[in-house]
Every structure is written in structure tokens, then in C-alpha cells.
Symmetry: C2
Subunit: 229 residues, 2 copies
Amino acid sequence: MKIDINQRILSAHDAKTAQNKHLLAAKRIVTINLMGSPGAGKTSLLEGVMSLLSPELRVGVIEGDLFTTKDAERVAALGIPAVQINTRGACHLDGSMMEGALAQLSLDEIDLLIIENIGNLVCPAEFDLGEDFRLCLLSVTEGEDKITKYPLMFKDANAVVLNKVDLLPYVDFGLEQFYQDLTLLNPQVSILEVSCRTTAGLPELADWIKQCVAAKRQEMAIASIQEKG
Amino acid sequence: MKIDINQRILSAHDAKTAQNKHLLAAKRIVTINLMGSPGAGKTSLLEGVMSLLSPELRVGVIEGDLFTTKDAERVAALGIPAVQINTRGACHLDGSMMEGALAQLSLDEIDLLIIENIGNLVCPAEFDLGEDFRLCLLSVTEGEDKITKYPLMFKDANAVVLNKVDLLPYVDFGLEQFYQDLTLLNPQVSILEVSCRTTAGLPELADWIKQCVAAKRQEMAIASIQEKG
């Protein structure tokens, strides 16, 4: 019975997600789903990397949060189009919420859409939002054991960004264990070390994002030629 | 429809929780539900406070985790009876899981049961596990904005423990804003500052726990006399 209920919720979500994905592809928008714990630094990461992505990329942001509009306000303060989704207590974003947010963005003016998911290492991992890339953020203050304790979050990530590396001297983070566990769980993952506070590593992260966008756009262009042919 | 499904899941949970609560009361066990983000320091808190609670209190621990048994092993290494619940990916503990875990503990040998919930600021807040007290842990590295962003977690807490205060000089945590937002949201809450790393504040936390246990036991004793009378 429990499985039936979950399947029904998931299949409604999947139908909306397929529709959103189709719309994003038609607009040639590349999408990144940014996930991590509360306080891992997701919004700070967006604030830090945004100026490094322009002028090449026109970025739009969807901000997921339970109740407040604080994060969308922080991103909008940078002059970036940002839409806030308030889940009113729900623990992840889903296809219907995404549909509503996409309707509020000028999609013709966006190359890259970044979705900042709810701060949660559990539930968001199970909901594909139609993204092209998954970027998971972990901060050194959370501990290296999070990789093995929340494997669903980290096993499908295209990149894991280790944040707050400026605090490494003050915490007991097992850096070697982190690399070992993560590459065992997800051998293809890109791993980047950053500090949003000092800005260390943010240029490399911006390069990684640009490379992802370029690769995806090439893929889209080839698909478009094949469709026409 | 969605509401119906949720109500059905919740009412099955509630029935189990009522049953667990009855069992715990019959055994005169006081229960604390310990919640917080991944990496807030829940298990470290248990490790730090445990020796300060004995010999007055005989403690048992239920450890919630998605997949691993790491946390229960850490607690058991202290000689404390600990049962691991693996939710296999689920984002919170519920009444049925609690029932299974309680069956594995020698309840006649426990005065205080601490339940370490799944690392998650969202979902566990909605599931009463029959606890007498809710203890929510927030670390300074997560940011003071978590109080207003995750209000369901903090508004019903009996105590909020602010962890990692040794890192305050190295992070941008708004301590004043934290106190202001938290006491506005939850005027009755006890607030304790600790560092599990330096052990600062742990004796005060142990005292708070002992006072809670003493108060609840007195309440239980009075209820028992009234029942007999």
C-alpha cells in the first residue's frame, strides 16, 4: 500500500518533470540542481560564483525554501533574475513547483538555470527536477562521514563541492577519507574545494560550470541537427 | 487526495506512537528527541555529555540513520546500550521504527532514552516520537538564519543547543540575531551554548537534562498517585 502511494506521487511528479525538461530543452537552457545540508553554503556559493559566470552566461535562479524569501532576495540583489518557491514546510522541490517557477522566468533571456534546492541531504536526492547536472555541496564542518551516511545524495552528483576549506585547521575533517569514500561511491564525480568566505576555488568552480554548459549545448546542437536531418 | 494520504500515514504513525508512549511511561523512562542538520554534532554531543549523566542516570540511545551503523557504534563504544534504526533512505523516524527499536532495549535498565533522529531540519519536526523533550542542535557554521528558515524545527523545541561555539571567531554567525529570532519564535525555549570539541558548556547541558528528567519523574509520580487514589 505504501509503495502504491509513493508510486502515484512519483509518477505525477515525473510527468511534470518531463514537461519542464522539454520546455528547458526547447529554450536551450542548461540546468543545474544545487543541493546540500542547511547551512552548507548554497546561497553563498551562488553569490560568490555569479560574477565569474557573466558576461558569457546569462543566469537565472530558482530558490527553494520552506517559508522565507531570504535566499531569492540575496540572489536578486546581484541583479540576477530569481524566483522563490516556498514549499510551506515540504522537504524537497518537485515538478509542479518547478512548473510554477519556470512560468515566472523570462526563459528567452537565460542560458543557465540554477535551482537551489531545500537544505536537506535526504529527500531532494530522490526527485529529478529535469536538471542536466547535479552539484552537491558539503562543508568541512559537517564531517567527512556524510558521504557514506547520505550516499543517495552523493552517488549521482556530477560534482561535489567541498566548502569552508578555510576552516580545515579548526575542525577534525578527514580529507583523505572524504576523497576515498566519495570516489569509491561515485568514480566519475568532479571534486572541487572552495571557500565562499575567502573566494578560494570559486574561479575553478566557475570554469567547471562553463565547461558543463558548453558540453551540454554542443549535445543539444547535435540533437537538433539530427532531428532536422 | 494528497491530504488524505498524509492523514492515513500520520494516523498509523500516531497509533504506534501512543502505544510506545504508554510503554515508556509504564517503565518510567524519560525520553529526549535529539534533532538537527547533518553534521550539527548530534553524535558528538552524546559522546560528550554521556559521562556527565552517569551514575545518576542510566541512559539508553536509539540512533536513527539512513544506512550506516556508525553512530550506534560510537555510542556503544562508551558502554551505553544503543540500538540502530536504519531507515534505508527515509528522512525521519516514525512510530513503527521506534516500536522495533524499543523491543531491542532492556527498558527496565534505563532511566533516560535519547533518540538521535535523522540529520534533517525538515521532516523529523513533523513526527512526534512520544518524546517528553525536544532538543534541537544548531551549529554556528550553519548560520543564524536557520531559525527563521526552518521554524517548524525550532518552535517546539524545549532546548536549542548552539554547538561549535569555538568556531565563532572564524565564521559570520549573527549571535544577537540568533537569540532574537529564536526567543521571538519560541519564548519558552532554553538556549545553551556548547562546543563538543572543547567540551565548553557540556556540564550546563548535563544539568539541564538532569533537571528535565527530575521534573518529568515528579510529574509521573504524581500521576501515578492520582491514578491509585
